[in-house]
Symmetry: C2
DNA sequence: CTGTCGGCTGGAGCGCGCTCCAGGTCAATA
DNA sequence: TATTGACCTGGAGCGCGCTCCAGCCGACAG
């Protein structure tokens, strides 16, 4: 059975999620990561829960959600169980936005491929 | 048979491609749109060729190509027929990058959907 | 003849999302 | 004991891709 290491240092957290410590601090500053514990000398101590929260935020960010929206989502997370519906709604909308972005990229890709094909047809005289 | 209107004012060009005039001027400034003609009092006159060039640049930009790379492409366009191979190669690489971006977005979307499913499963007790 | 409009230039400014820095505290190591 | 290293804070700075601005010009409408 795997041992679950509960607390993580900022460096470990950053390494596991794949962000810089500066980014973590920035996220805390702007209210995306409220409630992270501190040790006796003021250093952050990340729980597994904090890590998965950070990971989800990063995933949303990486898939194009702007910080303002991320803040809204983080607020809902703080807001307890009765915000679950709103959290779901927000994620569903993001899901649709990803679909749209992919569709748009595919259209643009289509055009790029047409241009490639055209260059090829010109090349072969 | 459709009449092809050859010259376009900056405003028309902007409207057709869906960018602002400022963006057009910016693109010219940084070397993406060399060779656009001017009328007797210095106003830009866009040909159909200019328009399609601008449209392609925008398409590349919208699909995530950074300005530096766009500059490289624009250079190749200026470089005449013997750069066709390099242009094709550049577009092919961009095509692959779009594939990668889409794949990445789909992974992130997967995770978002798992989270939605999780919220749902919690909601129904 | 006088607006108003669309365009021109060079250069400043902006919004986003970090990223870096100075100056400090503590713990463990040589 | 001295040094190193990880972390802390507040705040400045940055890279990207535009976007806006002041001040100007020339054409055309009323």
């Amino acid at each position: 059975m795997g041992v679950t290491k509960v607390p993580y240092t900022p460096g470990e957290a950053a390494g596991r999620i794949g962000v810089s410590i500066d980014t973590i601090r920035y996220y805390e500053k702007i209210g995306l990561m409220d409630g992270v514990q501190r040790d006796s000398v003021g250093r952050r101590v990340f729980s597994d829960h904090d890590l998965s929260r950070l990971g989800l935020l990063r995933c949303l960010r990486d898939s194009g959600m702007p910080i303002a929206r991320l803040r809204r989502f983080a607020e809902l997370l703080q807001g307890g169980d009765d915000t679950a519906g709103q959290r779901t709604a927000l994620l569903e909308e993001h899901d649709r936005e990803i679909d749209e972005k992919v569709a748009q990229l595919r259209l643009e890709q289509q055009r790029v491929r047409e241009k490639i094909a055209w260059y090829r047809s010109v090349a072969e005289h």
